[in-house]
């Protein structure tokens, strides 16, 4: 989970530097949403309601769909 949050931060910081000033303000507002900050805190402390992403399952589903499609 920490990987996704780090990647998310990297992507958004890079995005912001290329944005026009007006859009940057909008994006910054989205990123500073209290719900996301609070959720990151609870994810770090390990109390989540949704089950952690099972990467093996996702890869298996992808392989299955690729075979059937």
């Amino acid at each position: 989970m920490s990987e996704i949050i780090t990647r998310r931060r990297q992507v958004t910081e890079a995005d912001l530097s290329f944005m026009p000033a007006s859009q940057r303000a909008f994006a910054a507002k989205r990123l500073s949403r209290p719900s996301l900050a609070a959720a990151q805190g609870s994810i770090n402390s390990g109390k989540l309601k949704l089950k952690p992403v099972n990467r093996d399952l996702v890869h298996a589903v992808g392989k299955l769909i690729h075979e059937r499609a």
């Binding site: 992507v11 959720a39 399952l57 996702v58 589903v61 992808g62 299955l64 769909i65 059937r68 499609a69």
Partner: protein
């Protein structure tokens, strides 16, 4: 376009978001759901890239804003019934998966960068949507990898699902009906 009101045009589209919805989106529960859903999109893209030639993989990325908007929409679809009824059990796992698949497919959070042409482009978001939705549903049900072959067996519906997502853009209620067949 310039001047202080240059975003006025875009701001008008926010009118349809009610105060109640915004309140729901500001809860910690919503934040958890959004981050989790976005992670499914990342892993979905990772899976898609395993079927793409190596030299083409760098072109694909997840647009975080679109991913979050899709996750927000899915969250509202899944949980809006709590405003009408007291559902102690919460929404079903099928609805979880279907809402994510529907909104990922609609908002296309997987984007490509640069001058890039490939036949698989039209297929990308439909594939990631289906992978994210089915994975979320089966993961919440506690299914494991070995169950999957049994669930779909010789089923041909997955192929037609991809077709529907690409060309028919079904909403989450329609996908819920189909996903319930994969129980």
């Amino acid at each position: 376009m310039s001047g202080p009101d240059e975003n006025e045009f875009f701001r008008r589209f926010n009118i349809h978001i009610s105060e109640k919805v915004l309140e729901r989106l500001d809860t910690e529960e919503a934040g958890e759901y959004i981050l989790k859903a976005v992670e499914y999109m990342y892993v979905g893209l990772e899976v898609f890239l395993t079927f793409v030639p190596k030299e083409k993989r760098d072109y694909y990325y997840v647009n975080v804003s679109l991913a979050e908007i899709a996750a927000e929409a899915a969250y509202i679809d899944v949980f809006h019934k709590n405003d009408l009824h007291d559902l102690n059990d919460g929404p079903s796992t099928t609805k979880h998966g279907a809402a994510l698949a529907a909104w990922v497919n609609r908002h296309h959070p997987i984007q490509v960068t640069g001058d890039f042409e490939d036949d698989s482009l039209a297929f990308t978001n439909a594939f990631v949507a289906l992978v994210s939705g089915l994975s979320l549903m089966w993961n919440e049900e506690g299914r494991v990898v070995t169950d999957l072959a049994e669930i779909v067996a010789e089923d041909k519906r997955i192929g037609s699902l991809i077709y529907d997502l690409m060309w028919r853009c079904p909403d989450y209620r329609q996908i819920t009906t189909i996903f319930s067949l994969f129980k």
